[in-house]
Symmetry: C2
Subunit: 112 residues, 2 copies
């Protein structure tokens, strides 16, 4: 057991994006997905910083793509979520669900 920290808010989104993109998750595609799904436009630099930190913590892993790209450009770095990453994500999910329980009823009445 390493010291289990909590996932930051943006970290969760990034992990989810990597999961959704399956084997096709790399800087640009992740950024695009975040834009399409939650309309969150983050700079590419910001994204890479988060990806690096997640990798340091062992929550995602990366491997370089084929050296020869289709039409120019540097090789892609593909990311996948590790078991630890999935576990951390699940814990975050469960905690949030637990906190939302019972709130919904009281909340929905007033929130319109």
């Amino acid at each position: 057991m390493t010291k289990s920290r909590f996932l930051g808010e943006f970290e969760q989104y990034v992990i989810l994006a990597v999961l959704r993109l399956d084997q096709q998750a790399y800087g640009s595609s992740i950024r695009q997905l975040l834009h399409d799904v939650i309309h969150r436009d983050v700079s590419i630099g910001a994204l890479y910083t988060t990806l690096s930190r997640l990798e340091e913590k062992g929550l995602v892993e990366s491997k370089m793509g084929e050296a020869t790209a289709q039409r120019g450009g540097r090789a892609k770095k593909f990311f996948v979520v590790t078991g630890a990453g999935k576990q951390a994500l699940q814990q975050s999910r469960q905690a949030l669900d637990a906190m939302w329980r019972d709130v919904k009823l009281a909340f929905i009445e007033v929130a319109r």
Copy 2:
């Protein structure tokens, strides 16, 4: 519209706790709820810092309780979530739900 930022991870928990506690949300009770529901033990100082910041941003409001407490101790400061707070919370919720969509299937298979 003020510049709509995103809620931090812990900020969400605190807002949810205040909602759940309805009219009874103050330092100690919030802390207790966080402990009971998600087993997260945060220092009282950390909690107040976050509450203050939420208040600055207009996401929660506070009012002092009756001066005379039941059996000693200072008057409590009760917190409630503002409309803006509920809205911010809802947005965070929706964004996360949107990101989780489609992921579940692929995720659940592997996550055990």
